[in-house]
């Protein structure tokens, strides 16, 4: 009975697909990470059991707020610590945390700073200071090697990755068309696609043109958006409210697809594997919705 109580009060905060694209890792508010086998869940003879995790372990004391997959490892971040798990081991249903052999990891923390860590050595290379409140979201522009960060203080800062210096600071809440004072000024989602940037949170989700640093379209979505991604010519975002919103660049909301959780925290697209091209969303429920066709919910994985 306690398990079902736990399930009742579970929220999924983060997701990440494996490098091969056949597995999904999800982290919840109890500090557990569950690994699901997508190939089993998507196969024609999938049953209830295949919608359960193949591996479920406690990774952190606090909630697992973000998960990130590198080529070989799964990085999970909780309340103050980052752990790295080997995907190979996870797939074999064993969990060992070990060092990684990649380049740098950019970590945005609750201490209002962005830390860049060298993943080989595990030493923090540099710190980017500037935010006045904790950082919600980070994204990286590979072309210009710029880091964008958004935080609780309502500012989107753009940093140069090479020099580690702030380049721009956009205070979204100051723009009238975006601002929604009744919700607040915090920015909880960021996404970039070459010259474009999506940001949302307290202010409405808006699409910005980075060269001109001005909002081009504002999306009339009712709740606060927590995660948004660019996909082909669509923008998909999730947040408060039990639906995934499909929006067009022009600023119209094309569709709102209903989901099981009452509010969504995370959205992930599995683009690495063409066989298992799915979108998964998780939120304040123990169930993770899987969309095989992005227009409707196919089934749910359950913790």
């Amino acid at each position: 009975m306690f398990i079902s109580l736990q399930l009742l009060h579970m929220s999924v905060f983060s997701q990440s697909f494996s490098p091969c694209g056949r597995f999904l890792a999800a982290g919840n508010n109890y500090g557990e990470i569950a690994v699901f086998s997508l190939s089993a869940a998507l196969s024609p003879d999938a049953s209830e059991a295949s919608q359960k995790p193949i591996l479920n372990f406690t990774a952190h004391d606090g909630p697992v707020f973000s998960l990130l997959s590198t080529d070989t490892h799964l990085l999970s971040a909780g309340n103050g610590e980052i752990s790295a798990w080997s995907w190979a081991e996870l797939i074999k249903k064993v969990r060992i945390s070990c060092s990684v052999n990649d380049n740098s990891l950019i970590v945005g923390g609750g201490d209002n700073n962005i830390h860049i860590m060298d993943m080989e050595t595990g030493i923090f290379k540099s710190v980017l200071k500037g935010h006045t409140d904790y950082i919600h979201c980070l994204c990286f522009k590979e072309r210009e090697e710029e880091i964008l960060s958004g935080g609780e203080d309502g500012a989107v800062r753009i940093w140069d990755a090479r020099t580690n210096r702030p380049v721009h600071c956009i205070e979204v809440f100051k723009y009238e068309e975006c601002a929604r004072p009744q919700f607040g000024k915090w920015i909880s989602c960021l996404a970039t696609d070459s010259d474009w940037m999506l940001c949302g949170g307290g202010p409405s989700l808006s699409l910005w043109h980075l060269r001109s640093m001005s909002p081009t379209s504002v999306f009339p979505l009712p709740g606060c958006q927590r995660e948004a991604v660019f996909y082909q010519d669509l923008i998909m975002s999730v947040g408060e409210g039990p639906h995934v919103s499909h929006c067009l660049h022009g600023g119209t909301v094309k569709a709102q697809i209903p989901c099981t959780p009452s509010s969504l925290n995370t959205l992930a697209l599995n683009l690495k594997n063409s066989e298992h091209r799915v979108m998964t969303v998780g939120g304040s429920s123990h169930q993770i919705d899987v969309f095989t066709n992005f227009s409707y919910r196919a089934f749910s994985l359950s913790f």
Binding site: S4, S11, F65, G184, K185, W186, S188
Partner: protein, 695 residues
């Protein structure tokens, strides 16, 4: 026989009669009647006896004469006729002559007639005489025959006569001759004479009988004497009985003093012999457990011992009774057919659900003086045990309205073990028995007969095959293995309920009783307060909008108790629907929240409210309080109030103030007001620093 003479001279025949009469008188030599007969003249002289003449004449001749005369007469008449027709005068000589001849012929005829009559009479007289003679003889014959018959009858009767003496069984002849003294037997006479022999034998019989009667009288007298002696001795013995009783009574205080309730135990053992086996097992095991481990447990037997004895009587009596009652029932049936069809079924049902007259009463005493009384009954035909409960407390428990259901004897022992509802009989064989008498569910009778919980069956050593795992134990071993745990659970249940009762009465007064051991869980100042605490029915609960997720997850059962708590601060009102499992505090109450402040929010729509729910539902192990965890509910409610405080105070912080003064100034110390993508508030209280943080 009378010759019919058809003549016109009828006058003459009457004359002839007159004339005849005196002649007859004369021939009978009677007194001659001389009154009539003037035409006769001198009768005394002329003795004219026509009878004599009768013997002389020949009837045949007379007959011929008659014929001739008639012919002559006819001829004369013809001549007269001719003459008259020829015109002769009436007074002519021929006619006169002829007329005279006719008259002569007539006289002849008359004589012949007389003779005929006289012949006839004579013949008749002769016949008559002969007949008379025959009659006389016949009569004599009859008389004789009659007498013969009579005599024969008498002879027959005499022959059949059985004298009483033949009914007396006499000793056989040889014995008689051997035993009887000589003066009675008189062999010289009796050997020859049968009659004398019989007489002698009868005499001997009489002698013997007299002697035996004497002996009999003497024996009777002796018997009387001995009887009297026995009576005296009996009286003496019965006079001893009260003396013994007095000694027993006097020894009771001694027994108590020495703490050997010998007599009480003996009495109980005596009654226990009549208990049905499951109750006996329960008695023995409970008694043993009470003696060994738990001084506050006591067992006693109550009920009607005589009825119990009656049940165990030999079956022939009961069979007779059954057949009698069956016969009676059938009689009744034939008389009033319609009325008894349902009554018969009812009676059969009652018979099936009959309880054994003896029952066990187990008392569990708690430290605060309240007692849980358990009454165990055995249903004979169904072979199951049932239990009824009663709680008696030292203090009066009428304070709390919402606590009405807590100590309700119907639901007090619900789900002592998980899913043991006690509504259905655990014995699968009963299903077939119920079908026969039309009982659909046992649940209808539970309030009368008690609850047939599975643990009750186990305590009585009754094991029914159910889906679960079977232990190999039966009887006493089964009972013993469950006794300790069940008693502990029972006691725990009682204490939990009593504690809840007290807590409810203070909750209804809007005071959340937090004991000193639990103060550290909460900050010193809690502004939100409980304003209402009410109980709800299952129906009302399921109709609430914000509890659907709990219902869908299957965490709500019919046997649960439902409550609504309302916490308020300022304009904000938080409603919490509580589902309490009967196994509280093993199973924590489940809270579902709905907040009414600037709109309606619930745990489904607001992530922070969901976080508050998980604070009280999931992290409840911190809120248990000191063992046995009876303060869980009140601690949970207190935590809700604390979380509401945090929620309201940090909420106004988050919004960038376009409104005026904040309704709820920030008083709680928080490290951070938001964390994570859902920007949850810090609900965790840290003691003793007194600040709030995220989990």
């Amino acid at each position: 026989m009378r010759t019919q003479i058809t003549s016109s001279a009828t006058v003459m025949s009457s004359d002839a009669v007159k004339k005849r009469k005196p002649k007859v008188i004369r021939s009978e030599a009677g007194a001659p009647e001389t009154k009539r007969g003037r035409a006769e003249g001198d009768q005394d002289v002329r003795v004219y006896n026509e009878e004599v003449e009768l013997e002389v004449r020949d009837p045949q001749q007379d007959y011929m004469l008659y014929k001739d005369t008639c012919a002559a007469l006819a001829k004369l008449m013809e001549e007269i006729q001719e003459l008259k027709a020829g015109g002769a005068k009436v007074q002519s000589v021929e006619i006169e002559e002829r007329r005279t001849q006719c008259s002569v012929h007539f006289i002849t005829l008359k004589k012949l007639n007389r003779l005929a009559h006289m012949r006839l009479k004579k013949g008749r007289d002769q016949t008559h005489e002969a007949k008379q003679r025959v009659d006389v003889l016949h009569l004599q014959l009859q008389n004789l025959l009659y007498e013969v018959m009579h005599l024969q009858k008498e002879i027959g009767k005499c022959l059949e006569f059985r004298s009483q003496h033949e009914e007396i069984e006499l000793v056989s002849e040889e014995e008689f001759f051997q035993e009887a003294p000589a003066e009675i037997s008189r062999p010289h006479v009796t050997r020859d004479d049968q009659h004398q022999l019989t007489l002698a034998r009868l005499d001997w019989e009489l002698e013997q009988r007299k002697r035996l009667a004497e002996q009999y009288k003497m024996s009777l007298a002796r018997k009387e004497k001995i009887q009297k002696a026995i009576e005296q001795k009996r009286e003496y013995l019965s006079s001893l009985q009260p003396g013994l009783q007095n000694i027993m009574q006097a020894s009771l205080p001694v027994q108590e003093y020495l703490a050997i309730p010998f007599e009480h135990m003996q009495k109980q053992a005596e009654v226990a012999r009549h208990l049905p086996p499951p109750l006996y097992v329960l008695l023995v095991q409970a008694g043993a457990y009470g003696q060994a481990c738990d001084k506050n447990l006591s067992v006693s037997i109550s009920g009607d011992v005589d009825e119990a004895k009656a049940l165990s009587r030999p079956p022939e009596d009961s069979q007779d009774d059954e057949s009698d009652s069956d016969a009676e029932e059938e009689q009744q049936n034939t008389k009033r057919r319609r009325a008894t069809l349902g009554v018969q079924l009812d009676d059969k049902r009652k018979e099936m659900l009959r309880r054994h007259p003896l029952s066990l009463c187990v008392d569990l005493k708690c430290k605060d003086g309240s007692v849980l009384h358990l009454f165990f009954y055995y249903l004979m035909n169904l072979n199951i045990l049932t239990v009824k409960t009663k709680v008696s407390t030292t203090t009066d428990l009428s304070g709390a309205v919402s606590a009405g259901e807590l100590l309700n004897s119907e639901s007090l022992l619900n789900c002592l073990y998980a899913s043991d509802h006690g509504k259905e009989t655990p014995n699968p064989a009963n299903r077939y028995q119920f079908d026969k008498v039309g009982i659909t569910t046992f649940g209808d009778y539970v309030s009368d007969l008690g609850h047939p919980f599975v643990w009750v069956q186990k305590l009585g050593g009754l094991q029914f095959s159910s889906g679960g795992a079977q232990s190999g134990l039966t009887g006493s071993a089964l009972s013993a293995s469950h006794m300790e745990r069940t008693m502990k659970l029972l006691r725990g249940r009682l204490q939990a309920r009593l504690a809840l009762h007290k807590q409810f009465s203070s909750l209804e007064h809007s005071i959340i009783p937090v004991s000193s051991e639990c103060q550290h869980l909460f900050p010193a100042k809690v502004v939100s307060g409980l304003v209402r605490w009410t109980t709800m029915s299952c129906q009302e609960f399921t109709e609430l909008g914000f509890v659907q997720h709990v219902l869908k997850a299957g965490l709500v059962h019919e046997t649960d108790l439902f409550f609504m708590a309302t916490v308020e601060r300022g304009t904000a009102r938080l409603r919490a629907a509580v589902v309490m499992n009967p196994r509280y505090p093993e199973v924590a109450p489940l809270f579902s929240l709905s907040l009414h402040w600037k709109g309606e929010r619930s745990g489904r729509t607001d992530d922070n409210l969901q976080a508050m729910e998980s604070e009280v539902n999931v992290f409840r192990s911190e809120l248990q309080g000191p063992r046995p965890g009876l303060q869980l509910l009140t601690n949970q409610i207190q935590r809700l109030c604390v979380c509401l405080d945090v929620y309201l105070e940090t909420e106004s912080q988050v919004c960038d103030g376009s409104e005026g003064p904040k309704e709820f100034p920030r008083e709680k110390m928080c490290l951070r007001t938001a964390r994570g993508p859902s920007r949850l508030k810090p609900f965790k209280y840290n003691h003793p620093q007194g600040f709030f943080s995220h989990r």
